[in-house]
Symmetry: C2
Subunit: 432 residues, 2 copies
């Protein structure tokens, strides 16, 4: 029996995180982690798909409006008809002749595509009775290639390339999956280094996370270089020579400022500088990458689509690829970027934190390791310990590692009590 | 007395243009030209500012929601306080710590910035009793530089560069303004070459526009190359060797397809190929530009911001700069791009058509000619003859040239009867 999507609802869910300065950085000073929360109701009792994209609070209602404007393209479709031509479905959703002008393939329009596509993959994985990473890893290369969006990237990745990359390590997928079941996926924490924290808070948090197993730490900068150099020294002291330290400027610098600032930070053995300048500035990042080597440039959380990712890779402007599960147009376009990263031999360290992003990217990183890129050298997934309590099946961390998800779906289903409390502006968390 | 913005309203205005296939191209097959229409009410009787951004119909309500989400940043401000730090105001509006995530500086978020910023400049020009082009042209270089957004482009354009460019031809501004008053600004028409038209329609329209004074013609392509080569031949026959012919692929091609297709069209003496591939693909456009020379690459209507424009110029990927009055973040960011174009010696041929875009860009092109770039070689402003009847002060064309606007403001105020009839979905044009 085909499964039909009979209703689509979108809720405006917001968490008042700005109160504690969690998530504060040089350019996002007071985020309220938020998401439009999509529910795809089906005609099969108990089977629904959920999906989100991620925002920082104000404007979340704009994403809700965007998804409402796309609903008619999904409503009434069967899961079977969508997956019979999954790439065609994605392309149709991202390229509606009128809605496309609002992007194209970027900003609010693409956040809308992401939430709907992610919900459809959640539904498919639940229907298959598998966690998303496994659904993807169990698909054969040809079936996966059918889901990939190749338009405007064939100068970097062809269908043949994709098939070859997916075939190369297919024989050993099971070994890697078994290994992940035992030890989990490596992560790093950004929870110790937010700008709004005091030195004492940072020191305590670094100690707490080290005790819990973390060895990679990321700190924010971009406001007061002298103070930030001192903070890098403090963290380096705490984590020792064997710990890894990354820094994140959240786009505030010009190209020249980035190059000059990293000179001052280099003595503290920095693995990567994240978002040193405007996320659209491929050529600027390429100049920075050349100037700050061997420190690597990490980018991705604000790169809108596969076409921009492609150019960062082609230009040598990206040493670490930080895919965003909600900024890109959902699973399909993420497959494109994972394959390009493999072709260009760039490790993928997904952006996470916020709300639901950790839940999402554990699947993407697990699939990438099992089916595309076996090496975990230089791979760690961002981790932040906020807001997991709102999910029915939250991430499970052990010894600083993500434990492999086992529950069917894409791990984004929220608890009813949380949805009620954090609906904006009528939920109890906001109306009080 | 300072003038205070006391109320802000946004209307969802749509024109059912898809019925006639006006505006049909390879990727936007059925546009209903639309705009969110902003009214800034002030405490001075009879003085209001109007502004729009432009969309293709569905999703116009998403832009309305976006502007609603930004209102609080503008409401209650005085015109004087805004213009006391105009660059700071622009930066604040484009970089709100929560809303910024929805872009940054692209898509729906930036369309919202554009509509509000354009409305503020309309208000300022009306207050000054000058058409916008003249308000800008009369400002001295230092005052103009105060309005320019330099963040993330200082590797291509510094404040000193901008001041020098604005000073270089300041002594002869009046001559050029007088000349424009006599002969107007050159334009080209895209109204003869829409994909949905038959050969006979195209031939009739080319003849009609030639008789009315036009010598530059643009045709759409990207669907059926053989048929399009025939159509290029038809138009070339009609316009003779002295006419100029441009082609527009509206982003559908891959880099390879673009290069191959232009080989087939080259015999018809093509001035430019517009949007040969994805508008975010700077490196791809640079490859195409190299391969198709001496045909120039024209881009801009879908380039989101100054950072992307900068790179197109740095990479040699843009021979004609087609600024969009509503895609960029309004007048301030357009100043940045005009100045960069002058520095890189790239002619500016603004994107227009749609609804209100001709009304807007005539001011930008006039200012650019008078105050920044005296040469009109290789300059023509897009013109399309639809929907002008809805404006209180529509463009005036004579002999294929835009006549210099004389009425105070930015020419975007719509007639009340049009606003009523085309409000979506309740206006009479939609409810019938």
């Amino acid at each position: 029996m085909p499964i039909t999507i009979t209703d689509i609802t979108v809720q405006d869910i917001r968490f008042p995180t700005s109160a504690g300065l969690h998530g504060s950085d040089a350019i996002h000073k007071d985020p309220d982690y938020s998401c439009p929360y999509v529910t795809l109701t089906t005609d099969q009792e108990g089977l629904a798909g959920h999906g989100i994209s991620f925002t920082l609070g104000r404007g979340n209602e704009v994403c809700v409006a965007m998804i409402d404007a796309m609903k008619h393209l999904v409503l009434g479709r069967t899961v079977e008809s969508i997956f019979a031509d999954m790439h065609g479905f994605w392309h149709m959703l991202a390229n509606d002749g009128q809605l496309r002008w609002l992007g194209p393939e970027k900003g609010v329009q693409h956040l809308g595509v992401a939430a709907l596509i992610n919900a459809i993959w959640d539904l498919k994985a639940k229907q298959a009775g598998k966690p998303l990473w496994q659904l993807l890893a169990d698909m054969d290369p040809s079936a996966l290639v059918e889901c990939v969006e190749f338009s405007h990237v064939t100068d970097a990745l062809t269908e043949e390339d994709a098939r070859a990359l997916l075939t190369e390590h297919a024989g050993t997928k099971q070994d890697r999956a078994d290994n992940l079941r035992t030890i989990g996926l490596p992560s790093y924490t950004s929870s110790a280094g937010w700008l709004g924290y005091t030195d004492a808070q940072v020191r305590d948090l670094v100690r707490k996370y080290r005790a819990a197993g973390w060895t990679w730490f990321k700190m924010k900068l971009g406001v007061d270089l002298d103070a930030e150099v001192q903070r890098a020294r403090l963290i380096r002291e705490e984590i020792g020579a064997e710990g890894r330290l990354m820094v994140d400027a959240n786009q505030v610098w010009s190209v020249e400022q980035a190059i000059n600032s990293m000179e001052a930070l280099a003595p503290y053995d920095i693995l990567w500088i994240e978002e040193p300048t405007h996320p659209d500035d491929i050529l600027g990042h390429a100049r920075i990458a050349k100037a700050v080597a061997p420190i690597g440039v990490a980018v991705g959380e604000s790169i809108s689509n596969r076409v921009l990712h492609k150019q960062f890779m082609q230009a040598g402007a990206m040493a670490f690829c930080q895919i965003d599960s909600c900024r890109l147009g959902g699973v399909n376009e993420i497959l494109t970027v994972l394959l390009m990263a493999a072709k260009f031999d760039i490790p993928v360290c997904p952006h996470a934190g916020g709300v639901g992003l950790c839940e999402y990217v554990q699947h993407l990183a697990a699939f990438n390791h099992v089916a595309i890129s076996p090496s975990l050298d230089n791979v760690a997934i961002e981790y932040s310990d906020h807001l997991h309590e709102h999910f029915v099946n939250p991430v499970v961390m052990r010894n600083g590692r993500y434990q492999l998800p086992t529950v069917p779906g894409y791990s984004i289903t929220m608890k009813d009590t949380s949805l009620e409390a954090y609906t904006f502006p009528t939920g109890s968390a906001w109306s009080q």
